[in-house]
Amino acid sequence: MESKHLYQEVILDHNRKPRNWGKIADATHRAEGLNPLCGDHIWLSLKLDDGKIGGIAFEGESCAICKASSSMMTTNVKGKSIEEAERLIREFRDMSTGNLDTASQPNHLGRLSVFAGVSDLPSRVKCAILPWHTLHAALNSEPTISTEGDRDPVATER
């Protein structure tokens, strides 16, 4: 795995200039995501309007992979229904864990497939998945999630 595959310009750009950085003042849903192994720590807030994600923002401290994944997630799920967002969450997780080949299998990930390279780097999978896992928690009214323990998104069953 060459870093030029993972650290593509689009990821570096979202890392340098994260979109939707901050918090939604009148958020209907919030969650905190924590990756205790590497210290990634993000806060996500969003506002549901008519069953769709009207506004969404994130902030926190994280590596480039987590920050870019968070940033691109917010731009991708804005305006989407809960169902569409959950589908993206599933597809992103499957891609990151090597269970979805975006080139050959149907999916809705679009440019998010730049993160496919993390599936070759087991220690970085959680960095990419953390914001998606946090979004799932927010939509299901769980205040805090961690990538370790019971809620490990890449635990043994995968």
């Binding site: 060459e2 870093s3 030029k4 340098r16 590497c38 994280s62 590596c63 992979i65 220690s123």
Partner: protein
């Protein structure tokens, strides 16, 4: 390996290790990672194993294995002699007064937990205080916190300065009539600071307080003499000193060990058992329930033979050269900040790079074949002290070279190019 080995370097002038010959002993160093020669700089997490230790493990498993301390047959006696022989090597290596003061454990963490359960739970109670330092690994914090929670005791923390050196005046002020125990690290795993433990032990003893030293990061790299230090307990692991995983040592003064309660019950740790009463075995066996990792213990003995054949003074000098060279090279790197600048420092270089998270640094270094550790190094209070979530850490051992540090620096330039 015996002292007549081909790698006998101990008689050479200090600081003159023959890197090529040392490296030839470590087969794993010939690996290529991502098409590049492996540059292994994660020795503070675990060191690599020389052929001499690998051969000893194979010989044991091929021709000497049986369970120990019970059989009357040839193999059991051979295995027992080798395993107890390794204990005697440890005793000599750390200059313990007696072999029975050397207890086999699963590693440093297990050693600390043994003291917490065997000594702490028996002799520390409500309102008592335990002193640890800001620089501890989680393994020398969490067991004491668990004890404090159970007993209603209190944890006191020795602070450090911006260089990562413990403040000895503050340490002296922490003692009062409630102080019952001190648990401190010899060398910080996250920063490399070498603590003046001999002096700190003397301070504690003036107050009649026993001291446990976490020696996991010290014993692989320098001569340790437990009698000279006068520590009450000293804990370390084999896998950071060219030995196998799964085995470690707790040294303890015999008088204290005899006062302590066993931690685990089972076979080998008893003299007699009836349903009415069990009589515990003598030390060290009182603390060694069940069949131990026999091969690993013998491997630890072989690792000590190897380190002694090279010479601990030579190893310390080599690492001092490496950390000096690396610190100088890092000084010329733009935007790189060294975390931990103590005057007395082991071969550990923790650093951050402006605008780049340590995990991204580690991933890109890996592509260049350079193995470093990234994260909080199981020392989150150290990270909190310096206001950072994590660092990247290069840590050196006897087989590392200046050329490898050049590779590390070149790889860091690549990180800078990618992140701009």
């Amino acid at each position: 390996m015996t002292s007549s080995s081909s790698v006998r370097q101990a008689d050479r002038p200090i600081g003159a290790l023959d890197s090529e010959r040392i490296r030839a002993d470590f087969p794993i160093l010939k690996l290529e990672v991502n098409g590049k020669p492996l540059v292994y700089l994660d020795n503070a997490a675990s060191s690599q194993m020389p052929q001499q230790v690998i051969d000893r493990l194979v010989r044991y498993q091929t021709a000497e294995h049986a369970n120990i301390h019970r059989g009357v047959h040839y193999l059991s006696e051979t295995a027992t002699a080798a395993y107890e022989g390794a204990r005697a090597k440890v005793q000599r290596f750390i200059n313990a007064k007696e072999a029975r003061e050397v207890i086999y454990t699963r590693g440093t963490t297990d050693s600390v937990n043994l003291v917490m359960h065997g000594y702490g739970r028996a002799f520390i109670g409500a309102g008592d205080e335990i002193i640890v330092s800001q620089l501890e690994h989680h393994s020398n914090i969490v067991p004491w916190q668990m004890l404090c929670e159970e007993k209603g005791a209190k944890l006191r923390v020795i602070p450090c300065n911006d260089a990562g050196e413990l403040l000895l005046e503050e340490y002296a002020k922490l003692f009062n009539s409630h102080t019952r125990f001190v648990a401190i690290t010899h060398v910080s795993n996250a920063l490399g600071t070498i603590n003046p433990v001999k002096e700190m032990i003397a301070t504690a003893h003036q107050h009649g307080v026993p001291v446990l030293i976490d020696g996991a990061q010290a014993i692989p790299h320098m001569k340790v003499d437990v009698q000279d230090l006068d520590c009450d307990f000293y804990a370390f692991s084999a896998h950071k000193m060219c030995g196998p995983t799964g085995i470690g040592i707790l040294y303890g003064k015999a008088a204290l060990l005899e006062k302590m309660k066993p931690f685990e019950g089972g076979g080998d740790m008893i003299l007699s058992v009836t349903f009415e009463k069990t009589t515990y075995n003598v030390i060290p066996h009182k603390f060694e329930a069940g069949t131990p990792p026999i091969a690993a213990g013998i491997g630890l003995g072989a690792a000590i033979d190897y380190l002694e054949s090279v010479g601990m003074d030579h190893i310390a000098a080599q690492e001092h050269d490496l950390i000096t060279y690396a610190t100088q090279a890092f000084g010329e790197l733009k935007d790189v900040r060294i975390i931990g600048t103590a005057r007395a420092k082991a071969g550990v270089l923790s650093f951050t790079m402006k605008g780049v998270h340590p995990h991204d640094v580690g991933t890109i270094l890996n592509e260049e074949g350079v193995a470093v550790r990234t994260g909080h190094h199981c020392a989150q209070p150290v990270m909190q002290r310096f206001g950072i979530p994590a660092t990247a850490r290069a840590s050196f051992y006897l087989y590392n070279t200046q050329a490898e540090i050049d590779e590390l620096v070149a790889a860091l330039h690549k990180v800078r190019r990618i992140f701009g």
